[in-house]
Symmetry: C2
Subunit: 248 residues, 2 copies
Amino acid sequence: MHCALGSKPPDCVHCTVRPHALCSQVEPTGMETLRSMARIALFPNRSVVFDQGSVLRNVFIITRGMVRLFRLMPDGRRQITGFLGPGDLLGGIKVKANAHCSAQAISDLVVCGFDRSSFSAFLQANPTLCMTLLVVATDEIEAQYDHAMLLGRKHAAERIAAFLLLLSARWKPIGLNPNVVGLPMPRSDIADHLGLTIETVSRTFAKFKQSGLIEVPDAKTVILSNAPALYDLAGFEELPDSRMAIGM
Amino acid sequence: MHCALGSKPPDCVHCTVRPHALCSQVEPTGMETLRSMARIALFPNRSVVFDQGSVLRNVFIITRGMVRLFRLMPDGRRQITGFLGPGDLLGGIKVKANAHCSAQAISDLVVCGFDRSSFSAFLQANPTLCMTLLVVATDEIEAQYDHAMLLGRKHAAERIAAFLLLLSARWKPIGLNPNVVGLPMPRSDIADHLGLTIETVSRTFAKFKQSGLIEVPDAKTVILSNAPALYDLAGFEELPDSRMAIGM
DNA sequence: CGGGATGTTGAGGCAAGTCAATCTAAGTGG
DNA sequence: CCACTTAGATTGACTTGCCTCAACATCCCG
């Protein structure tokens, strides 16, 4: 870890991400215990939160910023398993665990960090929270099923369309315009998440622009000019509703 | 469901799959409760256990046989998200849930079925079991990460090698020879699981035969004549150890 | 001993990958 | 404030691994 853990969060009640995070499921008395366990930590952009295979000592709830989760092969091939943002749980819940993926900040990152064994003890003492987490994990499995369908059976255009719509849905509950999608990650990350190359990602964006499906005012912003058409393209059975994510 | 639920299991103590199933984590007193909730059910080969989108009323622990879990696109493209066998948990744990995948028996299937809400209540009353299940779900997420790497970044040969080794590892704890791998599923299932076509699967098997990596005495059996070479090919970081699986 | 389902093999095509050149944006230092 | 550098993104030309289509082989079960 590149960044020492700091102080307790001063105030959970007015925390902006709490409504969308695991902590919202904890009743007031438990909340005080949880807050006393938490330590705020900052990871600057590009810093590594943990490395594939390393021993995990903490669990994090993301407050601000985003991380990419990925696995590497010895020859450098990379699969990005997901992106985590505000409200998401990073690091998994097994008490003794080595990181299955690497996690790296793709913007300046603020997190609440917890000692794994303390967090686990807290879980065990809060069956309701435990059940909630089970549902979160279950949702993550379903999301991974969808991603397997994307990687195994969808064309480049379908993958990109699906990706844009999922990103769009991700920020809807925070009240952002769902038709203006920010892309905090570079093209190489999109490629490695969707099982494509940066060239194919770029070409597909170009094709979408030409067909009037999207506009790309700058490389980090996409405007969905024709969301319904994208939706058809993406080949979703049902739009997965926005959810709290978990990654490890 | 094509098959009415039958009687309680007569005897959990001598159950052959219990050591490898969730029930092994339940202490004797809870076990009696669990047994009284269980109903044995049979699904003949090819029968549908549940359909994508249908309302789930039960959770199943598989006693004998195997199922494929898959999602379909309107045009017929299929992604098999996994195969479940003895000891695995089928149907997920959310109390109110529609099936995210379809589940179909690929051999005659025997299961212990539980009413979802009763099972959930039992879970809530058994924090230890709940934590265990959380670990199982976590392991499933990690397995899906690996599968994403396979689908997004691995060549056909690497995919097939990985698949064979995972199948081999799956049956090791039951004491089967890990170098003789049974393939209960047809080639089309392997293809739809690995994001390939049946032709590519067949051709890759042929290439492996030619290189002396495997022998294929009949279409449903593969002998790993050179497991270490397959292991290199598969591009695993570490061999995922055998685990209890969960699917929904 | 048929006949349908499943598996294998071959020929040719194409979607996406590879390689390479160019363009753009964001810093950085003089 | 502007030349210079560098990382990231785009575009084009070419290649290729896998898919598609088609023919044939094999297995299984009545």
